[in-house]
Symmetry: C2
Subunit: 406 residues, 2 copies
């Protein structure tokens, strides 16, 4: 009989005191067998589970880790701010610095507000669109993820019909469906909430079609509705100017979180002057929304991404991984689809509706010290080097061989 591993022991303890053993998107029960639930530490692009196994990590904590764990510039800023103070009776100067920084970086932004969760940011954007317009309808793409409270959680359990009375859906990148939804909203259209690109769980990703993004902008201008880009997942990985800047469209409001502070809990809303007055009047707040350490971390993170052109570096390493995987798949005659920006790759297998091939492939990579996700988009960080990518490609080569042998 095999001895229990530390991960198994912790899962058994967790099963007693945490419903289902774990909550939310980090629940390892959603992953193939063999994935660890509990982690011990991180360093750069490496991660150690509680069993002492090391991985080259391509999830980056599902987005937050953009410079790698323990980036010295962030650590220094965090330690300096912690020595002064974090959660005080009001903000520190870091709040102003960070707001100034975002206004300078983001062409669309005249102001910023801060919170803790991506869901806080998307919810504030929706509230602002309604407050500014006095209207109610919000358009969202079918299947898009915008958070996990009743108006947006993908699981309807515990949600009432009224939580979504004023949501109307369209299909991402489909101008006709967008126009239909705008018509249905009529003179009650408050805003259009749209992800930086289509990154739905379990599907190929789709970059935004410039015809679509321009039409979103035109329709918002024609109806005086808010164009809200949900940049929570994609923000600061493809560009530091806001993801839709790449297709030449500026939003009215943007929601940010994840990568903004390299793993420290922070979210932000940025907006233009049309929404400044409403933003000064709505009441949104939280006990830790002014905490200075996460803001010091964000300033240091944005500094570092800007100084070393982080998006270009992540794109180059992501492309190296993508090219290597494409060559390996072709060599063994396995059909795969790699989608999305190289910095946030999704890898899906052809003829794999039940994800059996993807599950097998990622399990085999995991065994060889590479943490991939079989269904969700992955994330590069600036800590990934060519050597890390090449190490990963050795693992994926072996994993393709196993899949091919089945």
């Amino acid at each position: 009989m095999q001895a229990e591993t530390p991960d198994q022991k912790l899962r058994a303890r967790a099963a007693r005191v945490i419903p289902g053993g774990m909550f939310g998107h980090l629940n390892a029960n959603r992953l193939p067998e063999g994935y660890p639930q509990f982690f011990e530490r991180g360093d750069g692009c490496h991660l150690w589970d509680v069993n002492g196994r090391r991985y080259v990590d391509f999830m980056c904590s599902w987005g937050p880790i953009v410079l790698g764990h323990h980036h010295p510039a962030v650590t220094e800023a965090v330690q300096r701010q912690m020595a002064a103070g974090d959660c005080l009776n009001g903000p520190s100067e870091r709040l102003v610095e960070l707001a100034e920084r975002l206004v300078r970086l983001l062409p669309h932004a005249d102001w910023a507000m801060f919170s803790k969760n991506g869901t806080d940011a998307t919810t504030t954007c929706v509230t602002l669109a309604r407050a500014a317009s006095g209207r109610r309808k919000i358009l969202v793409a079918q299947g898009a993820y915008h958070g996990a409270i009743p108006w947006c959680t993908p699981n309807p359990l515990g949600v009432t019909a009224e939580d979504r009375t004023h949501l109307l859906t369209f299909t991402y990148n489909d101008v006709a469906s967008l126009e239909t939804a705008v018509q249905r909203a009529g003179d009650d259209l408050a805003g259009i909430l749209v992800s930086a690109f289509r990154h739905d769980y379990g599907f190929d990703q789709e970059l935004p079609d410039p015809l679509f993004t321009r039409r979103v902008r035109e329709l918002c201008d024609a109806t005086n509705a808010a164009l809200i880009v949900d940049d929570v997942r994609a923000g600061f990985r493809m560009t530091l100017r806001g993801s839709w800047d790449l297709v030449g469209v500026q939003p009215d409001l943007s929601a940010w979180s994840k990568a903004i502070a390299n793993g420290h809990a922070l979210a932000a809303v940025t907006g233009n002057d049309r929404y400044r007055d409403a933003a000064s009047k709505i009441f949104v707040t939280g006990s830790f929304w002014c905490s200075a350490v996460s803001m010091a971390a964000a300033v240091a993170t944005l500094d570092e991404l800007e100084r070393n052109d982080g998006p270009a570096r992540m794109r180059a390493m992501g492309q190296r991984l993508r090219d290597g995987i494409a060559a390996q798949a072709a060599a063994v005659g396995i059909g795969v689809r790699q989608s999305g920006p190289p910095q946030m790759p999704t890898l899906l297998f052809d003829d794999d509706a039940d994800f059996a091939k993807g599950d097998l492939f990622t399990r085999e990579a995991l065994k060889r010290g590479v943490y991939l996700h079989p269904r969700h988009n992955m994330f590069l960080s600036t800590a990934h080097t060519e050597a890390d990518i090449d190490f990963a490609l050795e693992a994926t080569k072996a994993a393709f061989d196993v899949v091919a042998a089945r």
Copy 2:
């Protein structure tokens, strides 16, 4: 012409890049003139603003600081966890330790889940009550604060009627109004959400009447609805067993945040086994909900509160402050009302509908290095010593003299 202070300079910068200069409950525009907006550092029960002025602080960051800033045991736990890792691809062992700790401390709790804002916790409780029952109505006390998203924010701007379709109100401590609300909910009653005690902004506080709390429990039992105690603000200051334990009533679900991790961003929901299944099925999550540093801070905070009977210490120091203020007010013949538990005191003046006396009093105390709030309940921490209370009482004595002279 007087030179601008650092606080004034920061306010001017903030006015350009933050709507209204500041958002949420920490907006100093809601306070009397003379209160600083920006802070430099904290230590123990002391706080320094950016102008270099030091205060004995009775707001404790509006609740989170329960052991004082830079408590060595919390700092040590935080540094140790930071050196390992914080935001990883899953939780660390700290998650399990903290859940086990809460289950051991809280008589009502069989399990725990974690998030970042008090609003996350109250929203999860409401979602759970609906998920478990398949019903929709939630009863809340008129005027009670349960968070700042559309279903609960005190400001209706940007909120739709449907966000509150299924909320019904009663009057805190009023059994008849509670029974009427239960009747109105009929067979659609999912839960009753009630604050640990009545702590509404600008009103005298009211401790829960045991007749009322027992009736809440009876009505929930009779209808199979969830009794949810919102312990976000009061939790861990009056007792470590959940605030309604003091009146002999156990909730089904409790919401926690603020003091749980001595200023680190963390919230929790605890529940009993009736809600375990629903809690394993709803989907609630956030990018930083598994971050280990805040959980390490929480374990250290609860250790320290337990080891040194933090609630008793805060009660004693709060009582010393209350007794001193009562004697000072009587000596100058000014009518004041001190309400709520001594650990979370509210001080209001008689015949002061516009808060002019309270504003003057707190401004005068502020000038003398004591940070009080004129309308909201205040907070003690275990860092307050007799010397700090006596220092504060010198300031309040002078402040009463100024009020009496008007």
